[in-house]
């Protein structure tokens, strides 16, 4: 995954609360089995209904979203579609939990900004001003005025280093996993019955 440290860019404000992943990526496009090139499906139904605040033809690297952004379905397509729009940072008062993890796994920064501080960011976005998002200091600033954002320590480190969580687990924790499995086999053998049977045969 590519490393992320800071970005200076324009933002879009989408203040609606509870924007679910069905809105971000309508279900009927889930039949697509690729993860690239999904930009035109992002917010597709809203766009076709005349809501063109964000979509294939209008986007920005920073999205200032509303409460509980990305709630609902676990579909990672929502994150891939946003990534295809060029979104690199999403700042909101809160996120759907699965969505937030999906962001981290795709190198997108999902940061939590206090409700009381987000109005300033929305105004800056609406005025087409540049925002500077800095992951090291965990601040987003506009014209020198900074607002802090929160992100999990582990997500932060992973983004800064561009880690691949899967291969990282295998290279660092293979021993721990083997040890755990040995114990579980002894304590909960019913979870290993089919494998034990196979080995016996």
């Amino acid at each position: 995954m590519t490393k992320f440290s800071s970005i200076s860019a324009h933002a879009i404000s989408l203040p609606d609360d509870d924007v679910d992943t069905d809105i971000i990526y309508p279900a009927r496009f889930l039949l697509i089995t690729e993860r690239e090139g999904l930009a035109r499906y992002a917010f597709a139904d809203r766009v076709s209904n005349g809501d063109k605040r964000i979509g294939a033809d209008h986007s920005a690297p920073i999205l200032i979203a509303g409460r509980n952004f990305g709630c609902g379905s676990s579909r990672e397509h929502a994150v891939w579609a946003l990534a295809a729009l060029g979104v690199k940072v999403i700042l909101a008062p809160s996120f759907g939990e699965i969505f937030r993890t999906n962001c981290a796994n795709n190198g997108i920064l999902a940061g939590i900004v206090a409700e009381s501080r987000i109005a300033m960011l929305r105004m800056a976005a609406d005025a087409s001003e540049q925002l500077l998002v800095d992951l090291t200091s965990q601040t987003v600033s506009c014209k020198g005025e900074g607002v802090p954002f929160m992100i999990g320590e582990a997500e932060r480190e992973s983004l800064l280093n561009g880690w691949n969580e899967t291969t990282r687990i295998l290279s660092l924790y293979a021993q721990n996993i083997a040890h755990f499995e040995q114990n579980q086999r002894a304590e909960a053998p019913w979870l290993w019955a089919s494998e034990a049977q196979k080995e016996y045969n």
Binding site: D18, L31, T33, N49, N68, E76, S94, E97, I98, N176
Partner: protein, 456 residues
Amino acid sequence: MYEKLWNSHVVAGDPAGRALIYIDKHLLHEVSTPQSFELLRTNNLRLHRPATQLAVADHAVPTRVRTLPLPPGLAHDQVALLEANCTEFGIELLPLEDSRQGIVHVISPEQGFTLPGITLVCGDSHTATHGAFGALAFGIGASECGTVMATQCLWQNRAKTMRVKFNGILQPGVSTKDLILALIGKIGAAGASGHVIEFAGSVITAASMEARMSLCNMAIEAGSRTGLIAPDDTTFNYLHGRPRAPEGSLWDDAITAWRKLPSEPDAQFDQELTIDSSNIGPQVTWGTSPDQVGAIDAPVPDSSGGSSTEKARAYMGIEAGRPLEGLPIDYAFIGSCTNGRIEDLRAAAAVIRGRKVASGVTALVVPGSGEVKAQAESEGLDTIFRAAGFEWHNSGCSLCVAMNGDLIPPGQRCVSTSNRNFEGRQGPGARTHLASPATVTASAIAGCLADIRKTV
């Protein structure tokens, strides 16, 4: 109970305070895994424990006509890709022609794949369903599915805990679907965010596994990835003799371990809520978020509910101040991982009593699995539904996610036993009202949203 499940699955910790949690079982379906398999291929990784994985196609499959092979198209290709991936990586797949095929969250308990005390994940947010068995079960993204396949582990932050006790006596016609909708309405769509919900209380103790699953299924609609219910004799009786449940002495050992899972009497929770279920009437959603819900005879909120209320009412085409009861409907849907189990179909069929679906209403029953369908047919439920004018479908997700060709046309109104009333969830511009199987059936017959208490 959460603490016990958590502690028994910690593989390692990291300086950031997370734990590497061991994942005992993984359910796969056609929609969320193509990219996960790709992740394995790209990184040249093997599957860590094939025996812990079980795959089935459910989201994309047609339910109206199930002629095999599927007709050419994206759904065909997606299911074929799942089959090819499972063959390549040695994962067991329950094929479409198999009576065990169905919605992941219906078939896994049915086959005894879901067990108390385990961690279980699936690339689907309704994985919380399996918490009804005392399993730590949660939905994950496609990248995480790949991580689980390769490592059998996921990094997790420990959640806070919330216990919700449902006490009291249920009103006639009221089910656990009404209870969970009422809870979501009370605490909000993000009300349990960051928390694991443990459901308890006399109503839960008395509830069947099917009813418990409907409840845990919608934990995500309150923002929680996980719902939990303590395993008890109801759980064990449900699982005993199921194809993948432990057998012989292993069953006895498992029961001994499972009896230690429930929370201790003095367990502490970060939040506690006690609800008198006697006060909960049949619930129906009026908006585009599951927390925009109320009793069927309560007035729809006015604009004092804020801009999201107004926006939702506009999308739904509903005036403020009127009750939902009497609102004309075009479609009625019975099915989904929330309410597509045998008990749900029995509850729906029992409401019919020789009456017919109102003219102008299209009503569908989509069993949650081939086994549910077969069981219903052996009880003659299909005959009751068909005689009343309901369509009788093959198993799958169908109108809950509307990606298999089953669709509600723009502006049309559907009363549905599914779990999400989001904008466009049942098709672009479709209007969805979530309710229990009994309420959906009564409404299909009345031609408008109906109060089940007036017909039972």
